[in-house]
């Protein structure tokens, strides 16, 4: 193999796209050719540098909103109605009995979908430069930042003393609407706490679930739904949720 061929094939070698036979040929050439060996080293270094730098862009929220708006809106109600229409063919009594069941099934579906979405949002946030819109370890900076950006102001609580460092906040998009995310860190693990308004003010105690290797702790309190998502273990995420909830209660009472 000559240098001219190697200079093209070396890229496929770097990218792991060469079959074993060609890979050996290129490697053999590089072993005996200082020029190509040095080039390959540089290409690898540049590749590494690019992989480690922030070269991606984040889609503006406005763009996400415009696309969402152009798509038919998700409507849980019509689906439910069309299911019930089937039942209505039978006796009124069985339809009544079925309503509870259907509602439960659908609600679980909805919950599953929203959990999928918060995990996607969590994954998106981990890409370079996407994690936080407002960088601050001060709850009195993060909380006002949300004002005017959302129809609900997510509670921002400093849990540094409890071992969870507040690092900032972010606007995100879940379930076809804007949602606030408060971002915490424990060691190198990121916790996204998503907060959304709900019409239901009933308190729902925490549930832990796992999706795509991430743990989700979900609970509801005082008209807000919470999802804490992290790669932290279930025990530590539970600890986070417990500390957050007790700090919330202390705040309200104090």
């Amino acid at each position: 193999m000559n240098c001219e061929e190697a200079e093209v094939l070396v890229h496929a070698l770097i990218d792991g796209e060469l079959d074993a036979g060609h890979a050996r040929e290129v490697e053999a050439h590089i072993e005996g050719c200082a020029h190509c060996a040095a080039l390959m080293k540089e290409y690898q270094e540049i590749r590494q540098a690019i992989a480690e730098s922030d070269v991606r862009y984040k889609a503006p929220l406005e763009l996400r909103r415009k696309i969402e708006k152009a798509l038919p809106q998700p409507q849980a109600a019509p689906t439910r109605r069309s299911v019930l229409r089937g039942f209505a063919m039978g006796s009124a009594v069985s339809a009544m009995a079925a309503t509870g069941l259907v509602a439960i099934v659908l609600r679980n579906d909805d919950e599953q979908r929203v959990e999928n979405e918060v995990v996607s949002a969590h994954l998106r946030s981990l890409q370079a430069g996407h994690l936080i819109d407002v960088v601050s370890t001060d709850q009195h900076t993060v909380k006002p930042w949300f004002n005017g950006k959302l129809d609900v102001s997510p509670p921002v609580i400093d849990l540094t003393a409890q071992g969870f460092t507040l690092i900032g906040g972010r606007l995100d998009y879940v379930n076809a609407r804007e949602i606030g995310a408060v971002v915490y860190k424990r060691r190198q693990h990121v916790i996204n706490l998503f907060v959304a308004q709900t019409a239901n003010t009933e308190r729902k105690s925490a549930k832990i679930s796992t999706l795509q290797g991430f743990n989700i702790r979900r609970w509801s309190d005082r008209g807000l739904n919470y999802w804490a998502v992290s790669d932290l273990g279930a025990d530590e995420l539970t600890e986070f949720g417990d500390k957050f909830e007790s700090a919330m209660h202390a705040n309200k009472e104090g």
């Binding site: 001219e4 200079e7 093209v8 094939l9 070396v10 890229h11 496929a12 990218d15 796209e17 200082a34 020029h35 040095a38 080039l39 080293k41 540089e42 290409y43 270094e45 540049i46 590749r47 540098a49 690019i50 992989a51 480690e52 730098s53 922030d54 070269v55 991606r56 862009y57 984040k58 889609a59 503006p60 406005e62 763009l63 996400r64 415009k66 696309i67 969402e68 152009a70 798509l71 038919p72 809106q73 998700p74 409507q75 019509p78 689906t79 979908r113 999928n116 979405e117 996607s120 994954l123 998106r124 890409q127 370079a128 430069g129 996407h130 076809a176």
Partner: protein, 185 residues
């Protein structure tokens, strides 16, 4: 022109959201590099998603990301065509530019100095300065992590062309990188 989405299929919309919206940042990143303009990129991605939704019924694969990219690339090419007629046309590859020999960009053997690391803005600038079609190939490979086969499908060219374009792109970027390094010294 904006394609109007039909209003009668929330279930289709739900599946589409789940499948396609996670790639919104990827699509926007690609559009930014292809068009080098934030507002145009935004328009192109919006158009891409509406077209994708329209054709979502017939989507059977490949993976969602390359499928979206193929649509996005077509939208961006339409934008190139529009700009060409506009007074401030962007640079287009001269005829046969694809065949320019590699060694035009690959300078003398490196003298093993360490490559400097640049911040994200500088790296973005260097990548954005690559000429087409090398920029497109490079971004699909290095920033979007597509395989050669997927890049070939998105760009509608043979895999061999992907390989030669990528070799040129990396050689050009290496030269630009070294030049930048020289400048800030």
């Amino acid at each position: 022109m904006v394609v109007k989405a039909s209003q009668d299929d929330p279930e289709k919309a739900r599946r589409f959201r789940e499948a396609a919206l996670p790639y919104l940042d990827d699509a926007y990143t690609l559009a930014r590099y292809l068009l080098r303009d934030a507002a145009d990129a935004e328009d192109a991605v919006q158009e891409c998603y509406l077209r994708a939704f329209k054709h979502f019924d017939s989507y059977r694969g490949p993976a969602m990301k390359p499928w979206l990219f193929a649509i996005l690339r077509n939208v961006c090419r339409a934008e190139y065509a529009r700009r060409k007629t506009a007074p401030t046309a962007v640079e287009e590859l001269p005829e046969g530019g694809d065949q320019t020999p590699l060694w035009n960009e690959a300078p003398e053997t490196p003298e093993r100095q360490l490559l400097r690391r640049f911040d994200g803005d500088t790296v973005r600038k260097l990548v954005a300065a690559l000429a087409e079609p090398f920029r497109e190939t490079f971004v699909l490979r290095e920033i979007q992590n597509l395989s050669y086969r997927e890049i070939a499908d998105v760009a509608a060219v043979p895999v061999g062309t992907v390989m030669s374009r990528l070799a040129r792109a990396r050689a050009m970027l290496r030269s630009a990188w070294l030049a930048e390094q020289e400048q800030v010294k």
